[in-house]
Symmetry: C2
Subunit: 267 residues, 2 copies
């Protein structure tokens, strides 16, 4: 595609932009600060993908949308989950537009079909045209149609990795509500230490430990997220994780400056 | 596609669901009544496509989105136009969900790319899967990416006709803020009479009269809308126009009952 410069794919975690414990509650202050940090960084072209947090997850869980179609009463639950994601996405898009970024919402369930939870078809023509013109497409984890299950939940992380690979992005930046990846779950183990850099080989080792035991997830629930990043890492696309709840860290990461966080690299 | 029953494509005009003169003002009472009429009719499968009315048109006009990309300052206008359509669409989807319809928003600009204003690519896999499962996909006139112009405005009418043809719909119902097609513009000519039935041949004759003169549009601004319906009519898909501002008329049309309006048929 004829973009002039290197593409950044930015993920904003659902727990960063919403108040986790309260249903349908955006963290408006953080959303506006992050919009400001993205605008100030001047990074372009950029695709932003955000999670669902307390907007998507609660309704999705109630109607068991992830598991797929089992009974007609789930249909209205799918409708509500989708609509909740549109509502959250509108807040993000409007915050970015408010800071002068030509952000354009791009509904994942309108251009993606999954099969057993994995992306099967992804129409990227509108998205690629957006990037050429100078828009910032904004996608999100969504309730999507699934060729096998009927429907399911597609994570923002899977979208990030798929997009980065197919659009040959130069980097992935992930904004979370923790400082990065730890040697143990920092919420449980006081000896947990932040991993500042990790190679793909080390990451695979870490994930095999998680997969091997049905007990504790040593990454503190981040193994799914990390697994999704492997295809991008295999293509040599660097991934950087920072705490986006802390002011200025996302800005520094976007600017390529040194910042507290975890860097994933090939090797 | 393996749908059990015949598909209805319903268009709801932008002037029906919004207050024309007031920017960003939905006609909430009408929206709720129409959601009720659709629900009560029990018609399924159904795809609903709505217009932009006072949500889309004002911003789109200000930034000359229809004309395509001319300068960077239009980008933010495109973002705003798109977001206005999402806002209106959310009101429609939520009204339908409120009446128990499993309505699912489907963003046109995420799955359609136009070329010089005409649909070039249209990823319908998610939409078709929605219909199989029993969802009611809700689309709308939208600000879309265009392979030639950069971007443009895609009318709901073009989507209606294209969808009806490609999904082999059995009928198109169009809800307007007038009773139907007239022999002259009813707002100008007191002798204007409602045309109750019109054949494709007669419609072509009427449109050639409009096209031939740069003066008055005898259809009262409906020639564009009518031209869009020709591909569907050529496929033998009947089109019925009713006044959706009048209570009960859309319901009757959906039920296949006799109602004041205009019927378009092959011949």
């Amino acid at each position: 595609m004829d973009r002039k410069t290197a593409l950044t794919v930015l993920k904003l975690g659902g727990s960063v932009i919403t108040v986790k414990e309260k249903a349908f509650t955006p963290d408006t202050k953080t959303i506006n600060r992050l919009a400001e940090e993205v605008a100030k960084s001047g990074v372009a072209p950029i695709v932003i993908v955000h999670g669902g947090g307390s907007f998507g997850h609660i309704v999705a869980k109630e109607y068991e949308i992830f598991e797929g179609y089992k009974k007609p009463s789930q249909l209205i639950g799918f409708s509500k989950t989708r609509q909740a994601m549109t509502a959250l996405n509108s807040l993000i898009v409007e915050a970015l537009v408010g800071k002068g970024i030509a952000a354009v919402s791009l509904q994942p369930s309108a251009c993606i079909l999954t099969e057993s939870g994995r992306i099967l078809r992804f129409e990227t023509a509108p998205l690629e045209k957006m990037l050429v013109l100078g828009f910032a497409p904004i996608m999100y984890g969504d309730a999507v149609l699934d060729a096998k299950r009927g429907f399911t939940i597609l994570s923002g992380d899977q979208i990030v990795s798929k997009l980065a690979v197919s659009l040959e992005a130069t980097r992935i930046v992930i904004g979370l509500d923790v400082d990065g990846l730890y040697t143990a779950d920092p919420k449980v183990d006081p000896k947990a230490e932040l991993i500042e850099t990790i190679t793909l080989r080390e990451l695979r080792l870490l994930l095999s430990k998680v997969g091997g035991s049905r007990a504790v997830d040593v990454t503190g629930g981040m193994s799914g997220k990390m697994s999704e990043m492997i295809p991008a890492l295999e293509k040599g696309i660097p991934v950087e994780m920072v705490n986006a709840k802390e002011a200025g860290r996302l800005f520094k990461a976007l600017k390529g400056e040194e910042v507290i966080g975890t860097k994933f690299q090939l090797g």
